[in-house]
Amino acid sequence: MNVVHLPDQPAAYLILAAFLLATGVFGLLRRRTLIGMLISGELIFAAAALNFMTVNRFMAPDPAVGQIVVLFIMGLAAAEVAIALSIIIAVYRNYRSIHSKELSELKG
């Protein structure tokens, strides 16, 4: 594979999306605060969106569909962040902590 044609290879984008997914899963397992886990979830969203755009650019017949799907993913990510942060702030008001080890009982 010639280096010059690297931006035109779908494998480059797919490998980068796989890297983003792997780092997102690593952070989701490794982080011990809720906001850190939320940031890792955003990385996984970004990996999915990049995969959609790659398949859309190199393999799909209609280039508008993938962009619309990625727009929907971005809208859902924004809604998810708003809900998750309000839940995190409510949890912090109750427990004075958002470390996931200490949130082990319900109905606190």
């Binding site: 779908p10 939320l38 970004a46 755009m53 393999m59 508008a64 958002i98």
Partner: protein, 177 residues
């Protein structure tokens, strides 16, 4: 022939810079201990992703990525960081278990990466379809209002429910304390 002899190498250099930006942003977002630095890493990763969308023939999505991820998502997360005390706790009891858990998560993510790497290099991907439509902003707008009008309305409903739910959750938490 391109008018400038090194333009292909210039494009590759810009592509490599964008990929390095994305990778560095993702690593900072996952590995740093201060949570505000990992929000900054997420913003850096979003800048890199916007550049990748530009390489994938979609400047509109590059703009939207910067607008939504950096302008909305990262700023909202920074507000959440300011309203709560969020740094990663010091590893206190049994560091051996912590280390074992780190090794397990690293193994899981490396396994995912290697599997997807092999799949994307050796998978039977179909050859590229020729572009039937142009994929411009005009085509996106027409498709949003004709073919995808139902999901478009549904996502506006989802955003409305998310706003109302966020307001209700934050307000209820305040009344209890």
């Amino acid at each position: 022939m391109s008018p400038f002899p090194f333009s292909a190498y210039l494009v590759v250099a810009i592509f490599g810079f964008i990929v390095a930006t994305t990778v560095a942003g993702a690593l900072i977002a996952v590995l740093s201990r201060r949570i505000i630095r990992s929000v900054a890493g997420l913003a850096l990763c979003s800048v890199g992703l916007a550049g990748l969308y530009y390489f994938l023939n979609s400047p509109f999505l590059a703009l939207m990525e910067i607008l939504i991820y950096i302008g909305a998502v990262c700023v909202t997360i920074i507000f959440g960081v300011m309203l709560s005390e969020t740094d990663e706790p010091e590893p206190r009891e049994n560091p051996g278990q912590e280390r074992l858990w780190a090794v397990i998560s690293a193994l899981v993510s490396v396994a995912i990466f290697v599997g997807l790497y092999r799949l994307s290099l050796h998978g039977a991907w179909p050859a590229g379809g020729a572009a039937a439509a142009d994929g411009s902003v005009r085509a996106i707008g027409i498709a949003l209002l004709t073919t995808f009008s139902l999901p478009f309305e549904l996502i506006s409903l989802v955003l409305l429910v998310a706003i109302l739910g966020a307001l209700t959750l934050a307000h209820g938490g305040r009344k209890q304390s």
